[in-house]
Symmetry: C2
Subunit: 203 residues, 2 copies
């Protein structure tokens, strides 16, 4: 199994470089477990699937803490058959795929319930792509059922689902969508957008 | 068939609102064919699959023309089984799926060759997701073969492929990846990032 993300931070300010640089220390607690590489388009993190969303939550939270409108955009992937297995990616938690679909949804909801509160309100949207499996719509519908009961469900949009709420719960919901739905060894990808401090009215 | 995109523009300046608003007229030539809806997270466009990337190219080009570092991020989708058919989405051009894989790649390359030059250099990366088909890696590899010969191939990255070059050719390559690969009626999604005027060295 190989898991990781390509993510970018977009602080909507002329001072975007110092905002990004000053937030990078938020990744320090994860550096031992994650491989981290940055270029001019995005930052790659490779490591345990259940570590990816907490790392992105903490980085986006740090970049957003001074009130700047800041967006995190990420392509998150696990099980891509084009990538070699990597022991670094061994999950931290037991498999989220044991049991029936109802039990999987209940476990995912319990994980969201246990998420720490951050005090930062965010809006997010994500697309869930389980690849290479004929039953892909079943996993999508189960994931949507989970998200609707997560406490941060916003609304269904074309091509994606909107979430609103505390960043702790929103990132936990995204993380559970990623690890708990789609077959255990399947290639699953998420396209994620998280926005803080937008001056626009919410849609 | 239903086709469209959720995209966002991220101008990295404190004046991001006027930059976005002043670029919207670039969508005027497309308004008759596209359904366009905006909220605080993204803009939805729904219409012919072959119209989506030209519209995003023109909008991103308009927002980037004064030299501001500006990123377009988009989730682009066709054939999602959760969306109803829409006559608005009837393709403008004949099917890009006639013929063998070699012929499909040659036709896609010819379309890129015919793309107008914009004078704006961009860096881009994209992930290609053909959904619900057991042969999804075949279509991914064919798409990668096409992209490597597009003249704007940058490099393979984890989870995505990088492009560099004139925005005309880069968006044409993305558009051909979207319409010409993945089965004709399959659910195909692209996760796209296009960046102009970055102060960072290219990766």
């Amino acid at each position: 199994m190989f898991s990781g993300a390509q993510f970018s931070l977009y602080p909507m300010t002329g001072d975007f470089v110092p905002v990004i640089l000053s937030s990078l220390s938020a990744l320090d607690p994860y550096r031992e477990r994650l491989r981290i590489e940055t270029d001019d388009l995005s930052t790659l993190i490779v490591g345990p699937a259940d570590d990816l969303f907490p790392a992105m939550r903490d980085l986006h939270g740090a970049a957003s803490r001074d009130g700047v409108h800041c967006v995190l955009s990420a392509a998150v992937s696990r099980g891509c058959p084009g990538e070699p297995d990597d022991p670094r990616c061994t999950p931290l938690a037991p498999s989220a795929h044991a049991g029936s679909m109802d039990e999987r949804i209940a476990a995912a909801l319990a994980a969201v319930e246990a998420a720490p509160e951050t005090g930062l309100t965010v809006a997010a949207q994500f697309s869930f792509y389980p690849l290479g499996a004929a039953e892909h719509m079943d996993e999508i519908y189960a994931c949507i059922d989970f998200v609707k009961r997560s406490g941060v469900f916003g609304r269904a949009k074309n091509f994606c689902t909107r979430l609103d709420g505390d960043a702790g719960r929103v990132f936990a919901t995204l993380g559970q969508a990623f690890v708990a739905f789609g077959a255990p060894q399947a290639h699953v990808a998420l396209d994620v957008t998280v926005s803080a401090n937008s001056p626009s009215r919410r849609g």
